[in-house]
Amino acid sequence: MNAPPGFPAAMPIGEDELQAYVDRRLSGERLALVEAHLAAHPDLGQQVAADRRLRDALRGQLEAKANEPVPARLRIANIRAGKRARLGGSLLRIAAVVAIFVAGAGGGWYAATLQNPASTRAASTATVAQGATAAYRTFVVEVAHPVEVDARQEAHLVQWLSRRLGRPLVAPDLAKFGYRLMGGRLLPADSGQAAQFMYDDQSGKRITVYVRQAEGGNETAFRFRREGDTSSFAWIDQGFGFAVTGMAAREELLPIAEAVYRGFERVEETPAPRRN
């Protein structure tokens, strides 16, 4: 290749390389290229130098914090002792939850046949999503009482909510998305009721599945709705409004909403509504 001296034919400098340069993660040929590029573009060179100074300054200011002795209350032994005293055998609790899960997945329990619920005002996907978002915001931040009935009593929870909503419900299994059922609760929704199932993943991120009476509401496809950092997929099906809500991207939420839709479809034991 006949590149002029000092200008070897090479990939152009990327934003990612500038960041890696700020973090001192470049070496060899690319480092030399970035340095040459910055020397040739003084404005950019100054910005990058400022980024480096700021990065180092931030590190310097926070260094002392990491060098402090660890307080006694954060010692693992003390945390474990505290947990045992408060909860008693956390491992046993986990084992119990897992056992219920397995039983639930294998048994496929269904709620008893139910009576018609009190009639409620027709709801749109927007009101369903609104209700779901409000409920999400109220309870997802709850540390002490995120759910009314927890997953250890899943069969009871599902039966109870099914009876109150007048519809066989399931707590959909979202394990393949990494979400585990925490439990659920009953909520008011206009003149009727709504059920909220809450799930969390192993990092503590929470999503909810919300079901409310929506008699007279027309069947709809999925509608996506975002309010601040909270997203919902909502739809109306067979007189009920459904929403899957979380602080998650549309792409993450959509497959979950589809799985939830299929889960409730099965429970109805009626022909699946047409979807386009």
Binding site: E15, Q19, Q61, K65, A66, V70, R73, I76, Q202, K205
Partner: protein, 168 residues
């Protein structure tokens, strides 16, 4: 499997540092770390084998922080970052001013940008590990990191302008 304590304790100093930079209150930061460790212990046997323990813990801490922040927001307890006073420190040199104010400037950034700068710049997370903690593709992390650094520069320039006005 190794005793959780032996794996967790070496990570506590950096968890405390991250927590402190996020909440800027020593006690609240340690509360956050304690909640993180409790949660990690209660899910210890659900954790994926061979997963990055450090990234997992930082993810838990960040999610707990976000949940708590949202709770605070509902109660109207937090100060929106536009309203927060920019502490100005007289300095003779630009660089000295920058150095002293890096943490104060960080306080003005949204949580995601804050976390990015802390994870990558202070905690030495790889870009891939930082992407996992934030739940973003690594390409997105690179462009958001670039934006976060630009924002830091802007905040400091604005801080300097405010300071100059005050001095006049």
């Amino acid at each position: 499997m190794a005793n959780p304590g032996a794996l967790l304790e070496p990570l506590i100093p950096s968890l405390r540092r991250y927590a402190y930079a996020l909440v800027r209150d020593h006690d609240a930061a340690d509360d956050l770390v304690q909640d993180t460790l409790e949660r990690a212990l209660s899910r210890w046997y659900l954790r994926r084998d061979g997963g990055d323990l450090r990234a997992w813990l930082f993810t838990i801490l960040r999610n707990l922080h976000i949940n708590a922040y949202r709770r605070g927001k509902r109660q109207g307890a937090h100060v929106p970052f536009d309203m927060a006073p920019m502490p100005g420190t007289p300095a003779t040199q630009e660089a000295a001013l920058e150095t002293r104010d890096a943490l104060a400037a960080l306080d003005q950034l949204p949580e995601e940008q804050k976390s990015l700068l802390l994870l990558v710049g202070v905690e030495d997370f790889s870009y891939e590990a930082a992407a996992r903690v934030l739940g973003l593709p690594v390409g997105t992390v690179m462009s958001r990191l670039s934006r976060a650094r630009q924002r830091m520069r802007t905040v400091l320039e604005m801080g300097r302008a405010t300071l100059l006005r005050r001095v006049k």
